[in-house]
Symmetry: C2
Subunit: 351 residues, 2 copies
């Protein structure tokens, strides 16, 4: 069924059908009603490709979930517990705004081509890129396209450094530095002075920020950190487990700050295996507040990422850029929140 068929049945021209479909003002109520009736009776829906070709928008946003490190990881992206909530909120928000979402995962360099293609082939009006380890070259290539897109969790410095066109790029971040500093201060305030750190991948903005916050905050408080108390868990539970086991071999800290919850779980695995009670013998604090964190026993003390706010902001922003046709370079940063639960013990006597 095409618009011409509707036109015939309603006794008008295709132009008029188009006018009522697109809600133009200059159609008398009577004509509009007549046409609408035929449209509904025949379950007519205009062909998207034809509309797009004739100048309308696709009404679709691309959502690219990138995780180059996970290519050979059996627990891929969504199970990764970090991504699922982002995907959920973004899809939901976009759907509610009347947009379809084209989702694509990016594990390899090759997959990155797909995101560029999605733009170039005009499959999408705009895009959102979420995930760690963005490929700078590709991000720049996309920015050159001058199409609306927003990056979640991206180092703004990178963007500015490469003089990206500021018209069509937006970045949404969380205040990871602030959150990590908060976590470390929390431990210090409760009497911990011997604190170990399990770092995440440093080719990630959040990986770097969280680590820097740890280093700075310890230094600010005049606390020394022996080299063997800073290990790299790559954001992976198993790796953290191995590293922490080594960390705890001799000279042992009283608390461990893991740069994400997955690694906090790995640290807990290691502690348990060594017969250390949590938080009795050692305190653990994580970052992200993944769903499982609150369900553990003991429940994990951690820093909550403002995933909902970030996703919503990203979704609303692409849509705005698409509809106004003009984007503006913008940055949004949402605060984290300390979730005090059961894995940290105070070393202060009066508590």
């Amino acid at each position: 069924m095409r618009s011409e068929d509707i036109a015939k049945l309603a006794g008008v021209s295709r132009s008029t059908v188009s006018r009522v479909i697109n809600n133009y003002a200059n159609v008398p109520e009577k004509t509009r009603a007549k046409v609408m009736k035929v449209i509904e009776e025949n379950h007519y829906e205009p062909n998207t490709s034809a509309r797009v070709l004739a100048g309308k928008g696709m009404n679709t946003i691309g959502l690219f979930v990138v995780s180059t490190a996970e290519l050979h990881n059996p627990n891929r992206i969504y199970q990764n517990s970090y991504f699922a909530p982002f995907v959920e909120t973004i899809v939901d928000t976009l759907n509610r705004l009347g947009y379809y979402v084209l989702i694509h995962t990016v594990y390899s360099e090759d997959d990155f081509l797909k995101v560029k293609q999605a733009f170039l082939q005009k499959r999408i009006d705009g895009g959102i890129i979420v995930g760690t380890e963005k490929n700078d070259g590709m991000v720049r290539a996309i920015a050159k396209l001058k199409l609306p897109f927003v990056l979640i969790d991206y180092d703004i410095a990178e963007l500015l450094e490469h003089r990206l066109d500021k018209e069509y790029a937006a970045v949404v971040n969380s205040k990871d530095y602030e959150g990590a500093a908060m976590a470390v201060r929390y431990l210090i305030e409760h009497g911990h002075e011997r604190i170990g750190f399990v770092s995440g991948r440093l080719n990630t903005l959040s990986g770097r920020e969280r680590r820097q916050a740890f280093v700075d905050t310890m230094q600010e408080h005049g606390l020394k950190v022996p080299e063997e108390w800073v290990v790299n868990g790559l954001f992976i539970r198993q790796k953290a487990y191995e590293e922490v086991k080594r960390m705890l071999e001799n000279n042992r800290p009283t608390a461990i700050f893991a740069a994400n919850d997955e690694m906090a779980l790995g640290a807990m695995d290691a502690c348990r295996e060594l017969g250390l009670r949590i938080p009795g013998d050692i305190s653990i604090i994580g970052f992200d507040d993944i769903p499982i964190a609150s369900q553990l026993s003991p429940a994990l003390t951690t820093v909550r990422l403002p995933i909902y706010e970030m996703s919503q902001a990203a979704a609303q922003h692409v849509v705005e850029m698409c509809e106004q046709g003009s984007g503006s370079f913008s940055t949004m940063s949402f605060p984290t929140r300390l979730m005090v639960r059961e894995t940290c013990k105070s070393l202060k006597l009066n508590e």
Copy 2:
């Protein structure tokens, strides 16, 4: 940049450009190379809408995640731990087959319109519908469209009953009856005779199958089940918690079979609150094997859903239907697996 621009630059006609893009045989290697060079130099990608309008496929599959019950649930679809793995695998598989995925969540009756529209507007070549509580009317409406689509976890009887056109519908299920029977037999074989059941929503295929398997298996073994030992938890943790607390008030079973893991968690909450040790005082067995199940302590004994196999089969099948142009009515059913962990105790003396 349009195909005509490429044609000019390469000194050929648009037809020839089209021929190399679509990999037609009758283009001499030399011409092909010349055209390809220009295409690459200019990062040209053909406009999808134009190709579709001219008769090519969209190369996009719609993925509709429906959960009508979750509309007002703060933990929506993906967090629901049941959906995330499906979405992940389907998107991954489809992407690898060279398809884009249009994702849409369906919480309400209205959202269902969107899936029909996606088909009618020719945004997608085919679709996959995953999730509980499909709206029969809508499913039938979609089947009438005669476009390739596959349903995951759907009652085939419903389809047949309504004489759906068999050309373009496929169903992928898990053997829930078999799995649930296995769980119950496992308990019985370990000496349990007093078994309670927490049912899921019965407007769901899996809800019905799991319940029926419980009832049948108990009966086959000549085991009586008092009415108050069969409660309905609606697949929701909190609801299960409440119902189980009531169930355990007086005459208490030695084991509880919950129709999904979320409810098994709720049952565990209730047991703990009543001071019952698991599995010391009461055994618990779930269904689904959600990621958290193995990470709990004690780790939850449960039945693993063949999510990966189901998702892969669904993805591959839509693509086949799209590419062959003709679908065939088909049904696939994948077996479940018992995951023996720590929440069940044997009542047999010699163990």
